[in-house]
C-alpha cells in the first residue's frame, strides 16, 4: 500500500505544527487495521528510531515533548503511534531498564527514569553530572525540610555556607546561579516561581516534576538522616521520627 510520502526537505512550516499537535484517538480495531497496512519491518524500524531518539534526547535531561516525537520520528506513521510507543517502552524496559514517564499530562511531556534498583558499590563514571546531582540533592533536601517550599534568599544563604556564592565563579560548577536557576529548572528538577508583589523580586523554590518522579520525600529524608548521622547531630533523629510518621511536614504539591 502506498503511503503519502512526506517530503523531508520541507521546513517546519505552520502546517507541520498543526498536524503533529494532535494524535488521533482510535478504537483497538482501527489500530489493528492500521497496523496491518504496514509491514513488520517498517514498524520495527520506527520503534528502533524512537528508542534511539529518546535515549539521545535524554542525555541532557531536558524533558521530551510528544510534539517532537511525532514530528521527528513518527511522522507519517501517526496512525500507529500508540503501538510504536508501547513497543518502544517495552524495549526500553527490557533492554535498558528504563521507562518513559509523563510529567506533564496536558502538554504530554516525558522523561526517562530508571526502573532498576540501585546497586551498592562504587560508581564507575564520575563526571560533572555526579557533582551537579550532589548540589541538587542538597537543594531538594533544604526545600523539603523547609516544608516543601523555600524562598530564594533562604536557599542562597544556605548554599553560601557550603561555599557556593551566586556572584562568584565556582571551581566545580562555574556559574552556580545559572546552574540552579536555569539548568535545574529546564530539566524540571526545580520549580522556581516569582512571588507576586515583591520588590525587589523574590522567588519561591519547589521540587520540580522530575524530582518528584526520580526520588521521593522518603528517599530525601533518608539522605538527610544519613548526613545528619554522619555529623552526629541529635536533631535529626528527632525529626526523622517526626517527619516519617507524621508525613512530609507540609502540603503535598502546591501549598
Amino acid at each position: 500500500m502506498s503511503q503519502r510520502k512526506r517530503s523531508r526537505g520541507s521546513g517546519l512550516t505552520q502546517g507541520d505544527d498543526e498536524d503533529f499537535s494532535v494524535v488521533p484517538t482510535q478504537s483497538p480495531s482501527q489500530v489493528q487495521r492500521n497496523l496491518e497496512s504496514r509491514s513488520q519491518e517498517e514498524i520495527d524500524r520506527k520503534v528502533t528510531e524512537l528508542v534511539q531518539f529518546l535515549l539521545v534526547k535524554d542525555q541532557k535531561k531536558i524533558p521530551i515533548k510528544r510534539v517532537d516525537i511525532l514530528k521527528k520520528v513518527i511522522r507519517e506513521y501517526k496512525d500507529v503511534y500508540s503501538e510504536i510507543v508501547n513497543r518502544a517502552g517495552r524495549t526500553l524496559q527490557q533492554v535498558f531498564g528504563l521507562q518513559m514517564v509523563e510529567i506533564d499530562t496536558k502538554h504530554h511531556i516525558y522523561i526517562l527514569t530508571s526502573t532498576l534498583p540501585r546497586v551498592e558499590g562504587e560508581n564507575l563514571k564520575q563526571d560533572i553530572q555526579t557533582a551537579k546531582l550532589g548540589l541538587l540533592i542538597v537543594i531538594l533536601s533544604f526545600i523539603f525540610m523547609k516544608g516543601n517550599s523555600a524562598k530564594d534568599s533562604a536557599v542562597w544563604e544556605f548554599l553560601r555556607r557550603l561555599r557556593l556564592n551566586p556572584g562568584e565563579k565556582h571551581k566545580v560548577f562555574g556559574d552556580v546561579k545559572k546552574l540552579v536557576m536555569e539548568e535545574f529548572v529546564r530539566q524540571k528538577y526545580l520549580e522556581i516561581t516569582p512571588i507576586p508583589l515583591t520588590d525587589p523580586p523574590e522567588f519561591n523554590f519547589q521540587w520540580g516534576p522530575r524530582a518528584a518522579k526520580e526520588t521521593s520525600k522518603k528517599d530525601i529524608l533518608s539522605f538527610v538522616a544519613k548526613v545528619g548521622a554522619y555529623g552526629g547531630s541529635p536533631f535529626f533523629f528527632f525529626f526523622f521520627f517526626f517527619f516519617f510518621f507524621f508525613g512530609g511536614g507540609g502540603a503535598e504539591g502546591r501549598p
Partner: protein, 323 residues
C-alpha cells in the same frame, strides 16, 4: 477583612483622599522588603497591626479604584500570612539548617583547621579546606536516592559522515599488491607503477638468490613452501612473498610440488636444460592459492614459524609500511 464583602459602588466619584493615601501607605509598608522580615518574625505583631489598620480604612472605601487597592492588599496580606505561618511551623520543628550545612561539609570531607586566618565573613562560616572531590563524593551518595536514567553515549563515538581522505587510500594500495590479483590502481599512480615493477623484479631476484643459497647448503631437501613464504609477523608480507615466488616458478627457475604428506614444497630447478625444456615441452600447471588471515594464522601455529625466511626488504617504500 470586610472590604471585599461590601458591594462595589457603581457611582464614580473622586476617590476620597482621606482613604486613598493611608491605604497606599499601608500597602507600601507591606511591600517594602526590609519590612518583610520584621513583619514575618513571630515576635512581632506588625502584620496584625497593619491588617487592622487597613480594615478600618476600608470602611471608607466606596469607589472602584479604592476597591482595586483593597483587592491588591488582600493578595499581599494573604501571602504574608502564609509565609508567617510557614515560619511558625518551621520554628516548631526546629530544622537547623546551620547544623545540616555543617554535617554536609563533614560528609564531603572538609578539613577543619583552626590555625589559618580565614577571611572573616560577617556570617560566621566554619573555617576549613574543602577537597576538590567534595561535590563528587556527595554526588556519588546522592545517586543512591535517585532513579535517574544513565546518560546514553555511544562507546566508540558517533559516526563521522565525511569520507576518508583519498591520500590514505593511495598509500594503502602501494603497500600490498597481493597475490590474489592486482587491484585497479587510480590513474595518478601510473608513474609509480614502473618503479613498482622494478621493485618487484628486484624482490624476485633477491628471493631467488635466497632460495639458491638455501639449496646449495642442503641440495637434497626440498624446502617447505609455507616455511619459505610465510612471515609470522605480517599477513601482507606473506601474500607478497607468495606473489614474488610465483614469478620464480613461472620463469621455470623453481618448481613447486607436493611431497609425501601432500604438503607443498619448493625446489630450484638446477639444470639449464631442464629450464628450457620446461617452457616448451612440459605441461603448464596453473594454481590459484587463496589464503585467508585465519588460515595464515593456523599455518604459523602448525608449522611453528617464528621467523620469516624471506627477510623484509629495506627499500624506501617498505619503510612506510606499517606491519
Amino acid at each position: 477583612m470586610g472590604a471585599v464583602s461590601r458591594e462595589l459602588c457603581a457611582v464614580s466619584r473622586e476617590p476620597d483622599r482621606q482613604v486613598l493615601l493611608p491605604l497606599c501607605s499601608v500597602l507600601g509598608r507591606l511591600t517594602w522588603s526590609e519590612n518583610r522580615e520584621d513583619m514575618l518574625s513571630s515576635k512581632s505583631n506588625r502584620l496584625t497591626e497593619a491588617l487592622e489598620e487597613a480594615n478600618q480604612l476600608f470602611s471608607g472605601v466606596s469607589c472602584a479604584r479604592e476597591a482595586a487597592l483593597d483587592a491588591q492588599f488582600l493578595v499581599l496580606a494573604s501571602n504574608l500570612g502564609k509565609e508567617k505561618a510557614n515560619e511558625l511551623r518551621s520554628e516548631i520543628t526546629t530544622f537547623d539548617s546551620l547544623t545540616f550545612a555543617e554535617d554536609l561539609l563533614t560528609f564531603m570531607g572538609i578539613n577543619r583547621t583552626e590555625t589559618e586566618g580565614n577571611d572573616s565573613d560577617s556570617e560566621s562560616m566554619s573555617g576549613g579546606y574543602l577537597p576538590s572531590n567534595a561535590w563528587y563524593k556527595l554526588g556519588e551518595e546522592a545517586e543512591k536516592y535517585f532513579r535517574r536514567a544513565p546518560s546514553f553515549h555511544y562507546m566508540l563515538g558517533s559516526f563521522k559522515s565525511e569520507p576518508p581522505v583519498p591520500r590514505q587510500r593511495i598509500e594503502r594500495q602501494r603497500k600490498a599488491p597481493g597475490g590474489e590479483g592486482k587491484r585497479a590502481m587510480p590513474a595518478q599512480l601510473k608513474k609509480m607503477e614502473e618503479s613498482h615493477q622494478e621493485a618487484t623484479a628486484k624482490e624476485v631476484e633477491r628471493i631467488l638468490r635466497l632460495l639458491q643459497t638455501l639449496f646449495r647448503n642442503d641440495p637434497h631437501t626440498p624446502i617447505s613452501f609455507f616455511d619459505l613464504v610465510v612471515d609470522p609477523n605480517s599477513f601482507a608480507r606473506t601474500v607478497e612473498n607468495i606473489f614474488h615466488v610465483s614469478f620464480i616458478v613461472r620463469d621455470g627457475l623453481a618448481r613447486i610440488k607436493l611431497d609425501d604428506d601432500k604438503l607443498p614444497v619448493i625446489e630450484p630447478v638446477q639444470n639449464v636444460e631442464e629450464r628450457n625444456d620446461d617452457h616448451s615441452t612440459r605441461a603448464r600447471n596453473q594454481v590459484v592459492i587463496s589464503l585467508s588471515h585465519e588460515e595464515w594464522r593456523e599455518i604459523v601455529e602448525t608449522y611453528e614459524i617464528t621467523e620469516p625466511m624471506i627477510s623484509p626488504p629495506d627499500s624506501i617504500e617498505d619503510e612506510m609500511e606499517t606491519a
